[in-house]
Symmetry: C2
Subunit: 192 residues, 2 copies
């Protein structure tokens, strides 16, 4: 049989393309609730037969990789759309945070996976995002927004963690309120 990967094969027909998207979305939903969920559960959540999942993704690993790559691209696109090397760092910080939060709320599991992926494509895309983030923080430091002497690697991890926490809130605040919370906390902590 001609096993065709979801990525790489020749163009899929419209219905098949939709199926792939549906499966990826279902995978995100199911796996974020239970990382050990089976193909069966994913298929059920997607409303397709398990065999269909296997037809689109040769192995479980292939599905996870596709999911990861998909999220990494979404992430990178979100950052690319909002980052800027010329606008004031504080403005950019707000914009990026809001946009990233939107993506991360829907693709948290996959994005987290992307951060630890070994797939060269994902590594490249993710490294690019990290570089943009570091550049922003460096500029923020030069502008005087960020205290001199702050370790920028620590700042980035801290920022990621805040974004993660913000997406975990059951509180259904809008994205702007959340990003304000994140940026304020990032900059000023909780002291008086």
């Amino acid at each position: 049989m001609t096993k065709q990967q979801a990525s790489g094969g020749r163009p899929l027909r419209a219905d098949a393309e939709r199926t792939v998207r549906t499966i990826l979305e279902a995978a995100e939903r199911v796996l974020s609730a239970d990382p050990a969920a089976t193909m069966e559960q994913i298929a059920e959540a997607a409303g397709v037969a398990r065999t269909t999942v296997h037809r689109r993704f040769a192995t479980r690993e292939a599905l996870l990789d596709a999911l990861t790559a998909w999220a990494a691209r979404q992430f990178a696109a979100a950052v690319d759309a909002t980052a800027s090397d010329t606008a004031p760092p504080l403005v950019v910080l707000h914009r990026v945070t809001a946009r990233v939060l939107e993506v991360k709320i829907g693709w948290g599991y996959a994005m987290n996976r992307a951060a630890f992926s070994a797939d060269p494509e994902v590594v490249r895309v993710h490294a690019d995002v990290v570089a943009k983030c570091d550049r922003l923080f460096r500029r923020a430091q030069e502008t005087g927004l960020v205290r001199p002497g702050v370790d920028l690697e620590w700042a980035r991890r801290f920022y990621y963690a805040l974004i993660h926490e913000a997406t975990q809130r059951d509180d259904r605040a809008d994205v702007d309120a959340l990003s304000t919370l994140v940026v304020d906390t990032l900059l000023h902590g909780i002291a008086a």
Copy 2:
């Protein structure tokens, strides 16, 4: 066969007791690297036969539950030993952070699991820790250390996240330096 749980049965002989500890430590190490690791891998890391693991912990779940309960108790003990309702909040914050970091560095996987456990014993112990933490933050707010208006639930989650990030650093700084970093960031963020 008389299957005896690691917790609950009659007292174990000294060698068996040691084996249980060895297995729990190995489980923490292995599972923190790969949460889907098998009993086989855990047994190997502990330097015992897989059957021995099954003798001490009837099922995989039983092992995970024991590990979680063990970590929860360690966590609670660390907080109990350092928390205080009378010492200045800032001092307590430093003390607690340093002590918790020590525990969390060695038991990160299990402690994280404790935070989501449904086991009533663990829930009770963990709720107690959360209560102590909230009390500390409330007091910090009343003292003027923490800005009025800060959501204390958010503060706590934020604080947990910082501790988590601090334990992830490969940088082998001592616990005091790490806890200073955590507390400083918690209070003042990264702004100038």
